[in-house]
Symmetry: C2
Subunit: 197 residues, 2 copies
């Protein structure tokens, strides 16, 4: 009886293999060959799923983005608006090993995309969709009249986005010293500066 | 008559060759071979200066750090404290092509260092020395009584540092849309939120 292979499941297994390689060796270790080996699959079978290294990397980055999106969508929305925002940001910044790995992949992918024209649209798409998350935060806050008066919501969305990505980078490049509590404390301080008491 | 070669000058020429390759192909394009070719030098002569790819990259990153440091040190110190800070931040964030290239090299180097244990000490050193720059800013502001009351200067130094590195990353990965004026505007808004009017 032939083995029934779930196509989507197999793609995800391959993406998991890519992540393990990235965490161990960096993006430069990712090749169609190394991923086939890591996933215990033949080169021919792998090429059936991804015909280039760029396609493989793009898929892995998309999976990271989807995971984060799913976590954000499953957050309860009925609590205190400020706590909702902190919970949302907590899904993006490296507060634990899993989110640290996602952050490393995002940074590595973004860097790789700088010199890979094929990957730039996805890199920009991810940047832009996170920008929209921050715009939504400030629109919701403004509608609920929780923002201090006189704030430029578009500018504040960009400022908060830059702060969060900066914390993400610091969490990755100085992970021994930039601790999770520190990141959470800086986000809390930033929100204090923006919201009415 | 033998050609007199200035050792330091030659090292700088090599670093310039590394920068050109990084901007064109990314860090993955940098090898002892490609740098020798770019600099029009034999492989043997190059190995006289740098015996590994890591040594070459570390030197290039150090040169970027030194350039930024020199620009900061040559800034006038006698003006308005707020303008001094804006001028200082302007030496770090990608406001023009040169500083965009430096930012690209910093991001690429920091990413590369994640999987190259040899490069991690330098990566951390650069992170820590920039952290000190931000600590100094807030100590000076506190001494001049320019800070709004009740601020935690250590936390504010970390927050400003994360914001600036986030702007730097955005300037690099979304350079077509995150414009220099936007970066300057966000820095100005951040300072407004911290300083007494």
């Amino acid at each position: 009886m032939p083995k029934i292979v779930n196509h989507e499941e197999r793609r995800e297994q391959l993406a998991e293999a890519v992540w393990r390689i990235i965490r161990r060796e960096g993006l430069e270790g990712v090749s169609v060959r190394s991923v086939a080996e890591e996933a215990g699959m033949s080169l021919g079978s792998l090429r059936h799923y991804f015909d280039s290294q760029s396609a493989l990397l793009a898929f892995s980055m998309q999976l990271v983005a989807e995971r984060i999106k799913k976590r954000i969508q499953s957050l309860p929305q009925d609590g205190d608006p400020r706590e909702n925002i902190e919970a949302l940001i907590g899904q993006i910044v490296p507060l634990d090993e899993d989110r640290l790995a996602e952050s490393q992949i995002w940074i590595a992918f973004s860097t790789f995309a700088l010199t890979e024209p094929e990957l730039r649209p996805l890199s920009r798409e991810i940047h832009d969709s996170l920008r929209d998350v921050f715009r939504n935060i400030f629109e919701t806050l403004a509608q609920s009249q929780l923002l201090k008066p006189g704030l430029d919501t578009e500018l504040e969305a960009k400022r908060f986005h830059a702060l969060v990505d900066g914390l993400l980078v610091h969490g990755v490049i100085a992970s021994e010293v930039v601790l999770a509590e520190e990141i959470a404390g800086i986000v809390a301080r930033h929100l204090d500066s923006l919201l009415v008491p």
